[in-house]
């Protein structure tokens, strides 16, 4: 260290900026930007541009049909007082609060079981993953059929053990739990992530823990959980965002063109309401403000998750 000149150790901001700027003289730099060109175009046209446009639209009453006016914060004022917005937001939050823990716990249990079954693990992993290959529209149709209150197999099975099942698809109290259960059918993706993480835990850690007299629970809590915490954290974030933006299954089962007799507010998820405001009622200005509210809610929730998880997530190695 001593042989290096002090200036090299601590380059001033000016030197760094000059060094940084000198990169633009390199041919490599421009070739690299050439490779990135598709993304620059796509980012401008399909992400950054629309984001700005959507933000601007959210302050107007744009609706294609009528003349557009600047309405200031009226849309945001309206959405606070729109009972359907709070209803839809609650629906999405409740769905997320139910589905995320259920999926994480189920996936973890399955992965832990698969970890111990030896050679059969590959076979069962494939079986458990199959539902993930089912299109959400098909999942929604299966949901309507299997969870049918009077003739569905779910209530039939519940009947065998003496439980009178609820009318899952029509009783507002049971619509979301039913959708949660049906969604958790596709738990295989999360399970595969956990299985890979579990296989990455070095065996010697378990041996060391056992040597120190740690029981099965202690080893799970103090070795397994910290070592797979990055995977748990990743799925926690991804599943939460997926839950908050859930659209296809609820829309397929309960909404659509024409009059639906089973249309219910209990399944009016936020993304469904947003979609209807946009492309069924063409309230583009209002819908844009709804979209930004969703974005902000997701950002805030993710930020909280990141802050809280920081204490629990353990990254091995340099990161």
């Amino acid at each position: 260290m001593a042989s290096i000149a002090p200036t090299a150790q601590k380059p001033g901001p000016l030197t760094r900026a000059r060094f940084w700027a000198s990169g633009f003289k390199e041919r490599d730099t421009w070739v690299a930007y050439g490779f990135l060109l598709p993304w620059f175009i796509g980012f401008t046209v399909f992400i950054a541009g629309p984001m700005i446009a959507s933000l601007v639209l959210s302050f107007t009453d744009y609706s294609v049909i009528q003349a557009t006016n600047w309405v200031g914060t009226q849309n945001y004022h309206d959405l606070i007082h729109d009972p359907k917005v709070s209803k839809a937001m609650m629906n999405s939050l409740v769905f997320t609060l139910m589905s995320v823990p259920l999926e994480i716990v189920t996936a973890l249990v399955l992965a832990l079981v698969l970890l111990r079954v030896g050679r059969m693990a590959g076979f069962f992993r494939t079986i458990f993953y199959l539902p993930k290959m089912t299109p959400p529209v098909a999942v929604a149709i299966l949901y309507l059929l299997l969870f049918n209150g009077s003739v569905g197999i779910v209530n039939r099975v519940l009947g065998w053990v003496g439980i009178t099942g609820p009318f899952w698809t029509t009783d507002p109290t049971w619509v979301k739990p039913g959708l949660v259960l049906m969604s958790s059918w596709a738990v295989g993706g999360t399970m595969v992530i956990y299985l890979a993480a579990l296989r990455g835990v070095p065996q010697h850690l378990y041996e060391a823990a056992a040597m120190d007299g740690a029981g099965a629970w202690r080893r799970f809590r103090d070795v397994t959980l910290p070592m797979i915490s990055p995977a748990l954290f990743f799925t926690f974030i991804i599943l939460t965002i997926a839950g908050l933006t859930e659209f296809t299954k609820a829309y397929t089962a309960f909404f659509g063109a024409g009059t639906k007799t089973n249309e219910t507010e209990a399944a009016l998820f936020y993304a469904v309401y947003l979609f209807r405001q946009s492309f069924e009622f063409f309230h583009f200005g209002y819908a844009s403000s709804l979209a930004w509210l969703l974005f902000v809610v997701i950002l805030v929730i993710t930020f909280i998750q990141v802050r809280v998880s920081k204490r629990f997530v353990f990254y091995q190695g340099e990161r």
Binding site: P38, W39, I47, G118, P131, T245, T248, G258, S278
Partner: protein
């Protein structure tokens, strides 16, 4: 056998169920109970995960009145359901399947190639703003589709390409890469030893041939993962066709399936021809199961790789 030994041996070797006759008094031992518990969990969940498929396939082969009888083997076979599904007025199943096939394939090819270009750019080169740009790219994964969907719709509307036979809004965005795939492929490109590129450079390769002849072939698994994931994503997508397509003949399969549900399901005011709805559902599911049968390794490894460095 102590509890400790059981747990330690559980890692690699499968726990065999000891034959009851040989160990008459040991059936309550921890190993046996655990093995039995595992077997119950495995078989139970397997039934849970597979049963809906079996239910759907058998229901699709039943006459209308028996769809909900919940028998595994139909009492009366109704193979004609599958012929009927293709003869529903205003529901051109074959066209829908074809639309889904070509839109999925074209979109997946486009996103695989464009993401590879971008990923190589981020993986091989050092240039000003690289980390910043990559951070911006990653953060776009957080952006819900809802925020950009209205202005994007207005762009396509302005271009007069809504409800157009070219289906441009469904696949053109794929020409510009996708953050998750760029991330996945970049990991792969970074794993290629730099010496390979230096050697190629010595041999007179330029940047393009380095990308095309060295990086791409070596990253083939990541490209296959991208391709099949995007096929699946397009095959699943309901919202985009719902926004952009009006004519029945232009629909892709998910929107077609939704149309059939709405016209025959009781909730949509139909007669409750559930046997047709289920048959159409099975038709939509089978190609995905077939792809999975061929590429299961790529799907499972791809999911695991995506989660590993998230």
């Amino acid at each position: 056998m102590s509890q400790l030994e059981v747990l330690q041996s559980g890692g690699s070797a499968a726990m065999p169920v000891p034959p009851v006759a040989r160990a008459p008094r040991r059936w309550r031992s921890v190993g046996t109970v655990k093995a039995a518990l595992f077997a119950v969990v495995l078989v139970g969940f397997s039934i849970l995960f597979v049963y809906p498929f079996i239910w759907a396939i058998s229901a699709s082969l039943k006459p209308q009145a028996e769809v909900f009888d919940n028998r595994v083997i139909p009492k009366h076979w109704a193979f004609h359901n599958y012929a009927d599904v293709f003869r529903i007025p205003d529901a051109p199943m074959l066209t829908w399947i074809w639309n889904s096939v070509w839109v999925s394939t074209l979109g997946a090819l486009a996103v695989t190639f464009s993401s590879a270009l971008i990923a190589f750019g981020f993986a091989y080169f050092r240039f000003p703003g690289r980390n910043l740009l990559f951070g911006v790219l990653l953060s776009t994964m957080m952006l819900p589709q809802e925020v950009t969907m209205i202005p994007t719709y207005l762009i396509w509307k302005h271009l007069g390409l809504i409800n157009h036979g070219g289906q441009y809004p469904l696949w053109v965005p794929n020409l510009f890469g996708s953050a998750f795939y760029v991330f996945l492929q970049r990991q792969f490109f970074l794993g290629i030893p730099r010496d390979y590129f230096e050697a190629a450079r010595m041999d007179g390769d330029n940047y393009w041939t380095m990308f095309w002849r060295i990086a791409v072939p070596l990253a083939k698994p990541a490209l296959i993962v991208t391709f099949i994931f995007e096929i699946q994503a397009k095959w699943f997508d309901l919202m985009t066709p719902l926004i952009y397509l009006r004519d029945t003949a232009l629909f892709t399969l998910p929107l077609g399936l939704k149309t059939i549900l709405d016209s025959f399901g009781t909730s949509g005011g139909g007669q409750g021809d559930w046997q047709l709805i289920v048959a159409a559902t099975v038709i939509a599911v089978i190609p995905m199961l077939a792809i999975f049968a061929v590429f299961s390794k790529y799907f499972l490894d791809g999911i695991a790789a995506g989660g590993r460095k998230g």
